[in-house]
Symmetry: C2
Subunit: 208 residues, 2 copies
């Protein structure tokens, strides 16, 4: 069984490898990757096992080949198509973050309530939320981003699931329910901040 953490780290290694490739570096050791990822060499080697790609004891990993192996394993050959629900300040930030700098991540449609719809934001058409099902029917999108207020999040999530979405990134601070065949990830700023604050307060007490 492959864990969420392994998948996250593979995605990170992939990114790190592309930056090395841009610097025209050809080979890399697990130690170097670990250092860039704030991890350990053993962790890196263990993670890379799942891709089936094998390095060379003397040269390390051939960057080009390892990138391809991770892409094949993770299914990153084509980019990721997504839809966004909620075009408030967060939604707009997401749209401008992805377009046009991040062509791998493609928000193919955005949705909001009527009064905020029927326009184009950062190159993305904003539809009325009522059109979610018909618009999605023509697409092969597997992922949805929920960036609406807490009160609307469950309803919007349910709509996405019923429209055939299999992965949800939820920015609303509530924990929405999804069917078992939908993968859900929450990004909850308030929780993250309180966690950091707690550890920061402890860390402040430790030796400088």
């Amino acid at each position: 069984m492959i864990s969420e953490k392994t998948i996250s780290r593979l995605s990170l290694y992939h990114y790190l490898l592309t930056t090395l490739k841009e610097q025209e570096i050809e080979f890399v050791f697990s130690r170097q990757l670990a250092n860039m990822a704030n991890s350990t060499p053993a962790q890196v080697r263990r993670d890379l096992m799942v891709t089936g790609y094998e390095g060379n004891p003397k040269r390390g990993y051939t960057i080009n080949e390892l990138i391809v192996a991770i892409e094949e394993f993770m299914g990153l050959k084509e980019g990721v198509d997504m839809v966004l629900v909620g075009v408030g300040s967060l939604g707009r930030a997401l749209l401008s973050y992805f377009y046009p700098q991040k062509p791998r991540y493609n928000i193919v449609a955005a949705f909001d309530k009527g009064s905020n719809s029927d326009r184009v934001v950062s190159g993305c058409r904003v539809y009325d939320i009522a059109e979610l099902a018909p618009v999605l029917a023509g697409q092969r999108v597997t992922m949805g981003i929920v960036a609406v207020p807490a009160g609307a999040a469950q309803q919007v999530t349910t709509m996405l699931c019923e429209a055939g979405i299999h992965g949800i990134l939820n920015f609303a601070p509530i924990r929405v329910k999804v069917p078992r065949n939908v993968y859900l990830e929450n990004v909850d700023l308030a929780v993250t901040i309180e966690k950091i604050a707690w550890f920061a307060n402890r860390a402040a007490g430790k030796k400088e």
Copy 2:
């Protein structure tokens, strides 16, 4: 030893409890909290152990008292003061997200490069990054948010650490290095999205 995960969940329970309180509910069982948190009753009870607060076998937890217990344990009595570095589209979204709706989380100062500084965004003064140390010297801020491009993230992070910050929330896609006495949390959208995409693709194969 108390884990990061426990701290995150306590923060979530705290939020959930405040919403219950708003509905004028007085008591709650671990089962109900678990349901709201997409967790299990045993997990909730074990998490709450660390606060030292004890529920009642017949009524469950008294919401008011449990909120106070979590706040005392987590040090949430006062809000969290933060500084933000990077006032691009993400930085602005963060400023408008917190101000003025979230008075518990207070961005006391923002910083950016000269050309983008010396103005007020969403109620927050934006200083030149060169003023980071002097401005922080007068504050008792423990947390910094890094919302700059990857190329500037390490430099900015180092400046924050040297200015006495003990917790960093990093939105840049690289893994910055911090001294051992600084707590670091990365929010990496690309990694999160690729993780969701991977699990979504698997989930799409499972029974509907």
